[in-house]
Amino acid sequence: MESLTNRKVVVSDKPMTFMEKLYLPGIIKGMLVTFRHILMRRKTIKYPEETREFAPIYRGMHVLKRDEQGRENCTACGLCAVACPAEAITMTSAERTNADKHLYREEKYASMYEINMLRCIFCGLCEEACPKEAIFLTDRLVPTQFERGEFIYGKDKLVEPVDHRIDITKRQFTGKRTTL
């Protein structure tokens, strides 16, 4: 049979020659190989100081977007939670009062919205499911913590601050609404 790669090696158990039995040539050859590796350039990325370059559409920590007037987009429809294969999302909805009109865009909003970052597999299906352009994955990393509970992100960590918007334009695919 013709082999597909040139990596095929025929195994044999022929007795070792005298040179092979000495082992020393083999050992010296091996030591030269390791010595070459001492001189090689390291490919390590020293993480906190250096970071790997991300793809423009990297799927990292989520953000809950606000619209231009600073109102939260999410209407607590629950489609993201349904779409989520890891069951990482949970929320409770509430009805918007007149006094809160400047805070929430839709009449119904999420009074509580949580993503468990330990469950999340960063597949991006929540983002795809969302009809309101409310949730997006960003190129930010979820920072490490010492306690498991700290990985459950509430609205305090997910909703973008009004004065510090998070750019998600790279992940806005064509065919989706870009404005309201």
């Binding site: 050992i27 030591m31 190989v33 390791t34 010595f35 590796h37 390291r42 490919k43 390590t44 020293k46």
Partner: protein, 344 residues
């Protein structure tokens, strides 16, 4: 004179103690760095610039760990084991001539703690006691893995000590003395023994690897079969002493190899410095340490290149390969030395 003598020796002893420990500590750092480099990694680099504080962090860690003694262990032997291991590793450095004499305060100060005329015998005696630390530690732990480690260590020691001794005899025959300083003096300049006795060096080096329990002969500890071997049950600084004594032993055996085969503190062109004995002394110490570090590097280089031997292969190599080679080498050397002395 007498008091000065004691002061000199005391200062030298304390210095040697600190240097041995310091070098052993930084050997652990360098070993991890080298392992990293060989495996295309960076190695420890977090503690201080380039990670040079890593040995201190490791030491602090060792001290902070719980010091645990197994219930069925023999308490006294359990404590004695690491003590003996450390003691025997350190004590050999006393007989090593570290450099030519210093001229200070109008006196000549010898850089050798104990000038005994049977230095090499003393070194071998101490090295063979060294295995008692491991044996006692493994036995006292009352654990089958530890016992296996101890048994392996002692059988390995017996098998390799023979070939090591025989290959050292060739050096003794060439230089005609058991005194380490005389052996060093006989290799003045570039007249090193390695050029006359490459085979003896090879045998001696392989045996030194086995005696210090370094890979590929680290069967007494081998992590993946014996989960640590003789030090399985040890924790805290007792474990630290065991691990540390291995590095001190590596340092000292590199020094002995440098003396026996690489001319100790001799270096080519040392005759130019006869007018300034102090400069010569400092240079000779530096050269000696450079040789030691090079040998230590080779020790580590081998460890991260060659896989561990199987136990039967180890015995085969020791008894059926190294001892015959060493014996033939000794006989040939004996004949040549005898011929040389009678006919020339």
């Amino acid at each position: 004179m007498e008091t000065f003598f004691w002061i000199d020796k005391l200062v030298l002893v304390v210095l040697l103690f600190l240097i041995s420990l310091g070098i052993a500590a930084y050997q652990t750092y360098f070993e991890r760095k080298l392992a990293g480099w060989i495996q295309d990694r960076v190695g420890p680099d977090r503690a201080g610039p380039f990670g040079i504080l890593q040995p201190i962090a490791d030491g602090v860690k060792m001290f902070m760990k719980e010091d645990f003694t197994p219930a069925n262990a023999d308490k006294w032997l359990f404590i004695l084991g690491p003590g003996i291991a450390m003691f025997t590793s350190l004590i050999t450095s006393a007989i090593i001539p570290w450099g030519t004499d210093l001229q200070l305060f109008g006196r000549s100060i010898s850089l050798q703690v104990a000038e005994i005329n049977i230095g090499i015998l003393f070194a071998f005696g101490i090295i063979s006691i060294g295995v008692y630390g491991i044996m006692i530690g493994g036995w006292a732990s009352n654990n089958k893995y530890s016992l296996f480690g101890a048994i392996r260590a002692s059988s390995q020691m017996i098998s390799y000590e023979l070939a090591m001794g025989i290959s050292a005899i060739t050096i003794i025959m060439i230089s005609g003395s058991l005194d380490l300083r005389a052996i060093v003096e006989s290799q003045h300049g570039m007249n090193w023994n390695i050029f006359y006795q490459p085979v003896a060096f090879l045998v001696f080096f392989i045996c030194a690897l086995a005696e210090t329990n370094r890979a590929p002969f680290d069967l007494p500890e081998c992590e993946n079969e014996l989960i640590g071997g003789y030090h399985t049950e040890y924790s805290s600084m007792k474990l630290g002493l065991f691990l540390f004594s291995e590095y001190v032993a590596m340092f000292v055996s590199s020094a002995i190899m440098a003396i026996l085969f690489f001319g100790g503190y001799n270096f080519p062109g040392m005759d130019y410095f006869t007018d300034s004995p102090n400069l010569l002394s400092i240079l000779s110490v530096a050269v000696f340490f450079a040789k030691i570090f090079l040998l230590i590097f080779v020790f580590m280089w081998i460890r991260w290149t060659i896989p561990r031997f199987r136990f039967d292969q180890l015995m085969h190599l020791g008894w059926k390969v190294l001892i015959p080679i060493a014996l033939v080498n000794m006989l040939v050397t004996g004949f040549v030395v005898a011929l040389y002395e009678h006919w020339f």
